[in-house]
Symmetry: none
Subunit: 266 residues, 2 copies
DNA sequence: GCTAATATGATTGATATTGAGCGAATTAGG
DNA sequence: CCTAATTCGCTCAATATCAATCATATTAGC
């Protein structure tokens, strides 16, 4: 990744979230600490950011409303490192030329960073993801029709007839509200319905979920565990539950090394 | 590959993505490093691109990557003042609670600024317009499904069944490539088709066009003049042609001219 | 067919960017 | 208040990129 690209990434993120930790930026840019610090020094010299110990913040504390509202931004701040890990693993599963679906979500949102140099045909119902991919990548972007809901940055349509019925993808990536023995679960009926619709257009379903999803509950079942082809999660996921999921025929990818897992657990 | 071919390739790519690495361009142009660097030096001398170490970027230096490419930005720069005038007049026609359609275009793009405090239901096939309205206003935004074309920031779908078939609006705003005696004319068949589809969902059609549209020509007829309810243009439009348009039953609003303003008020 | 002008390709020295190591400064916890 | 851990800033070597020069190929005009 080159200087300008890193700067762009940094500025976009800091404008969206107001504050970023250096560790996060290291993970996001995949650059060495020295390089990143040089970038931060230059950006501060330009007056674009303010450096504080352990992180940076935007020069304008009261940042203007972004596309997605603060609600999704706070959710992104939670467990950002874990989510970035699984998102990167998900992005690595894609091969140039493929058609994929990316469902809106706070975890899938990180995938856009890692698809910057990919060459895919991407259907997404997330306005922020579409925006970032259009601005920073050469991927072909397809949107479903519908209304844009600011809170989650998601495009939802109450109607059945839709351009996505003419779309087909080899992989669909989605995060979720919770994973239970009953299957993949959402909290919002509209969101669940949208995901069901997208599901019908994809061959294999890949669910990406940090460990916090395993002790959550929801009301709307999107699909049973058997529909899931691959589950990507991080090392702090509860092992017994993962075994149960494996017994349903789901391939489970656990990202993050052992030391990192024990450190976060300790 | 000839020199101008390479230039065209380079400019197209950099407009679409904002940043390109020299290595990428070497692979794309299949030219020698020396030749490519000479091209880049010339393009920089013309002010078309900006060179940085390791790559090039669009001339828009510090701004975040634009959604719509430079091609539409250049068009926006042309006659920007006139376009702003007619766009403001168009926005003033909207009343809170209404449902409207805004077609993608360099002139309609200015409408978003003046709809910031409106409270409308807005269907638009322009990604940049949607983005701006979502970020700065409380209007409800609806998008048609389809692929996002970076060059014009427009969402186009080759399919007929679409969420917009369930949408209906009291007003549709569109600019165009040219206005002739044959009617409203576009240059690009895909764009013309998209506008025809949107047209069927709106009661009254309002065309906004600065005076430069009157001496242009195109190939694709979108609709006859009789379909137009109101034409908004600026004071430098050719009066004889405006009379001809009026004779077709079109209401003509001329903005930016005192005499014209008092006439429309009367 | 010849010459001049322009475009292209290769080489080399100069410059910029990057990553790793180490000591100093800052923060958190007891 | 003190210690441990993290974060920061600096220097140095390695790598990648740039700019300039010269040689070669192509094209246009006579």
């Amino acid at each position: 990744m080159h200087e300008w690209e890193r700067w762009q990434l940094i500025l976009r993120q800091v404008r969206a979230r107001g504050f970023l930790r250096v560790r996060e930026l290291l993970a996001a840019t995949e650059a060495s600490p020295a390089t990143l610090r040089r970038d931060l020094a230059k950006l501060e010299g330009m007056g674009q950011i303010r450096r504080v110990h352990g992180g940076i913040q935007g020069v304008d504390a009261t940042a203007p409303a972004q596309i997605a509202s603060r609600s999704i931004d706070v959710r992104q701040a939670l467990n950002a490192d874990r989510k970035r890990l699984v998102a990167k693993a998900a992005a690595d599963l894609c091969h140039d030329g493929e058609s994929i679906i990316i469902n809106a979500g706070s975890t899938t949102g990180f995938m856009a960073e890692y698809l910057r140099h990919a060459n895919l045909q991407i259907l997404t119902n997330s306005f922020p993801i579409a925006h970032e991919l259009i601005a920073t990548s050469a991927n072909r972007i397809v949107l479903p029709g519908g209304e844009v809901y600011r809170d989650q940055g998601i495009i939802l349509s109450p109607f059945e007839e839709d351009a996505i019925q003419s779309f087909t993808a080899s992989k669909m990536f989605m995060s979720c509200y919770a994973i239970t023995a009953m299957g993949i679960v959402e909290d919002d009926p509209l969101v669940a319905r949208a995901e069901t619709k997208l599901l019908s257009r994809a061959e294999t379903l890949i669910v990406i979920a940090d460990a916090t999803k395993f002790d959550a509950r929801g009301s709307m079942i999107v699909c049973p565990l058997g529909r899931v082809h691959t589950l990507i999660t991080d090392a702090s996921a509860p092992e017994p539950f993962l075994d149960q999921i494996r017994s349903e025929g789901v391939r489970v990818l656990v990202v993050g090394d052992e030391r990192a897992a024990s450190r976060t657990a300790a």
